[in-house]
Amino acid sequence: MMALGPLIALGLGALAAMLLAPKAPPAAARWAAGLGMAAAAALALTRFGLPAGMAAPILADDELARFGTLLASLSGLAALVYLRPAPPAKEGPALIALAALGGALLSGAVHAAPLFIGLELVTLSLIALFVLPLTRPALEAGYKLLIMGGAGAAALLMGLALAYAATGVLDFAGWMPGPGLRGNPVMILAAGFLLAGLAFKFALVPFHMWAPDAFEGAPAAAAAFAGAASKAVVAIALVRLTAVGLPEPVWSGGLALLGAASILLGNFLALRQESLTRMLGYSSVAHSGYIAVILASGLAAPEAVPFYLLAYAPALLAALCVAAHLGADPGIEDLRGLAWERPLAGGVLTLALISLAGLPAVGGFIAKIYLFVAILSAGAWLSVAAAVIGSALGLYYYLRFVVMLFRRIPPGQDAPLYPVHAPAPPVRTAALPVPDTAVLAAAGLLLLATGLYPGPFAEALSVLTP
């Protein structure tokens, strides 16, 4: 029963938030959901290191599940902190808690039912979160996710159904390639459909179309959850399915192909984006691609994917937190001089962007090294080529934004050489609220910690993969 603790905490948090929403002050719902997620994270954290088992007959309770739960809860908590749609939405906290619940469910899924339900719970909650501001871009983002999500869900279900038809069981364990299943065309088709369905949630090209729109139109918090938590738990589901051994070369080949395409197209389309959030949307596509090619190259380094997630999630959360602070859909010009005006925001955004770019001193660098080690040792030259080109492109556009953070003066003006009393430039951005500061600081510290001292993290994460 203890194994279900995090799920129960999330569910209770969601329920309490939902019930409190109509009458109680808005802060109460937030606290309820937040406490639920914090409790879930704490429970998941305390369970690290316990022997693996089953939380329920269809739900695993192993390190991977705990890691996914932790990541989903913490991302949810962070997103909750800066979820402030323009008309205050009382449903928000409950929805985030529900999304985190879906994530927790998905990360423990070893069976078709929780896989599907977890995924759809996340998707539906996200749709609801996307539309919270009720503005036209938000509604449009929700609508696109609804349509695409439905189609993706159908494809996933189709895959599950076909696998079920071929094997008669819904447990992943039953899909292990036995003597009867090897080369079974039904199973192969099932793998194809499954891949398409998960690729949609993972925002791999060409199933990625919703992602940049969602990042741009939706509230930053919702986009952050979509980019960080849901991506992480889907990655965990992919890890589990990869470990099962679905028919090859469809699974790995397809993943590599989609991954390479995502790296190239995602990075390419982000190249000169002016909007910070949209750039992050495309970059999230590219990062999905990186994770996909790691997965496709087999799991030689077990900590590679978890580490990538650990480095990626805080970077995205921090970047979108800053974006949320800058107003709806901030452009590159809005970032000018931010590092001087708001050092913490600018600094952590810098860290986040250089982590995403894969530069040293932050977690992204180590993650990139894992990526290259994985694909090089697997000899996946297509992926290597894509990753190299993608990283080069990425360096360009991430640094574009970073440089802008430090440019104080618009082009054409020059500061006097020795101003005796430099008038302080007017501060355009409001001060950060305390919780946002905490989120940013935590994310920045995590990025630095994973970048500067990755040893313990890598060690802890290496036991995750079954």
């Binding site: 050092p343 090294i369 080690v373 500061a415 101003p419 005796v420 430099a422 001292y453 040893g455 890598a458």
Partner: protein
């Protein structure tokens, strides 16, 4: 831990200094001084702590090893012996001095102090890293703040000069990088640990090539002719603090590299290439001294004397004998003090009169006796007067040269004679003569006198009580020479 603080503190302090101007006037300056002072304490802690148990040699005073990403061969490995400790101490002191002498810099002063701190951090990283990946990283990192210092706060044609500095050193740094990665690639399992490389048994031919690559980087920083062309320009155009750090720290990193690695990693290569190093040093010391005699810009003059003195260091390092190596170590420290002080003085002069042209200066003796006295003291140091640490260094190098080759010793002695020409020329033009149009009315103030006194104390203390320095350097020299002993 204290060792890590020596690098991390200024590194993060730089970031803080970037933001500190928001806290109040001069906050960044006090912050920088405070951080460097704390780093000095950390140095003392590391120095006096118990010697590390897992160190691969007896000379190491402190050591830190974090496995960074063991699967990828990345680790954070710092080790400090007497030489590194002395150089780190010098770097911290010079850092504080740089802050003090730049008190009137107002343009982007947050970034300025960040650059100062980062320079200190990166050079400390160079002095302490025994993991060559980190060494190379810090080596390249050092260029960035210096580049900014010159290109933003410099004088004259500062941007072109900064670029020249950057191009020279970055291109030369490639030799180091290539060597490091080659060694890492040929190691039995991927690593950048210098101690592992030292025991790896690199084939002699490879050693020659690797040493050439390393030496390219080190000699450019040193700088030895003909790779010195960046130095006079960079010193001349840099702000005072930049010149101090360039002369006091950056040049020392090159010498440090030549001190530490050739003997440790490439003993066979050293035996092949040492004669060339000696020849280069002998040429450089005369060449730098002769060119110094002809300069009209005071800073350029001092810059060329740096070439001459660092070439003496090169001779000492390439000599491969105990005396010469000791001399090189002492001369490194001594030159850090004396050259920094001369740059400080000339910078202070420039701040007052707006020119460094020797033909326009003069008469300091009459108008500002403290200035003149300070010049005279460091002029004696540049001359290697007995009683200054510079004399100790040069005498030891010359002694060593007598053991290696008398011709080299003779050349070093000739450079001693030429030093009289340029030094008296400097004095004649600056402190003697009739007070000129560009004449100084304001004598040194406390903010300048303080650093001067510190530097003078260092120069004279180590000159009169050299044992303080020799005791510290001796184990490092022994360890550096041990692999060179032919069986």
């Amino acid at each position: 831990m204290a060792l890590t603080a020596l690098i991390v503190l200024p590194l993060l302090g730089g970031v803080a200094a970037l933001l500190a101007p928001r806290l109040g006037r001069d906050a960044e300056r006090w912050l920088s001084i405070g951080l460097l002072a704390v780093a000095l304490i950390a140095l003392v802690v590391a120095w006096t702590g118990a010697p590390p148990e897992d160190a691969p040699g007896e000379q190491w005073l402190a050591m830190v090893r974090y496995q960074y990403a063991p699967a990828l061969g990345l680790q954070f490995l710092l080790a400090m012996d007497g030489l590194s400790a002395a150089l780190v101490a010098v770097s911290l002191v010079l850092g504080i001095i740089s802050v003090i002498v730049s008190w009137n810099i107002r343009k982007d002063s947050g970034l300025f102090h960040a650059c100062l701190l980062w320079t200190v951090a990166a050079s400390n990283g160079v002095f302490l890293s025994m993991d060559l990946l980190f060494f190379a990283f810090f080596w390249e990192l050092m260029l960035v703040p210096s580049f900014l210092l010159i290109s933003i706060w410099g004088h004259g044609d500062r941007e072109a000069v900064a670029l020249k500095f950057l191009v020279f050193n970055a291109v030369a740094g490639l030799g180091l990088l290539a060597g490091v990665f080659w060694m890492a690639a040929t190691a039995p399992e991927i690593t950048f640990d210098a101690f592992v490389f030292a025991e790896m048994g690199i084939p002699p031919v490879a050693q020659v090539w690797l040493l050439l690559g390393f030496a390219l980087a080190f000699l450019t920083k040193l700088p030895a002719p003909p790779l010195h062309a960046w130095l006079p320009d960079a010193h001349t155009m840099a702000p005072t603090a930049g010149s101090i750090l360039l002369a006091g720290l950056l040049l020392k990193t090159g010498a440090y590299g030549l001190f530490r690695f050739p003997g440790m990693l490439f003993p066979d290569g050293f035996h092949v290439l040492a004669p060339f190093g000696l020849a280069l040093g002998a040429f450089g010391t005369i060449y730098g001294a002769v060119l110094a005699c002809g300069q009209t810009d005071a800073k350029r003059l001092v810059a060329y004397t740096s070439v001459a003195h660092m070439s003496i260091v090169l001779m000492g390092l390439a000599g491969g004998v105990h005396f010469a190596m000791m001399g090189a170590g002492v001369e490194m420290i001594a030159h850090a003090f004396s050259a920094s002080a001369l740059f400080l003085l000339i910078g202070a002069l420039y701040d007052r009169v707006g020119t460094r042209d020797l033909r326009e200066l003069g008469g300091l003796m009459q108008t500002s006796p403290r200035f003149a006295a300070a010049f005279a003291v460091f002029f004696s140091a540049a001359l290697a007067m007995p009683g200054t640490a510079n004399f100790l260094g040069e005498a030891l190098v010359i002694t060593g040269m007598f053991q290696v080759n008398w011709v080299l010793a003779a050349i070093a002695l000739v450079s001693l004679v030429i030093s009289v020409v340029y030094a008296t020329r400097l004095l004649k033009r600056i402190i003697f003569g009739v007070p000129s149009r560009a004449c100084v009315t304001q004598d040194l103030d406390w903010a300048e006198l303080g650093p001067i006194v510190v530097l003078a104390t260092g120069t004279l203390l180590f000159g009169l009580l050299p044992q303080l320095l020799l005791v510290v350097l001796e184990p490092a020299v022994d360890a550096a020479l041990a692999p060179l002993a032919r069986p």
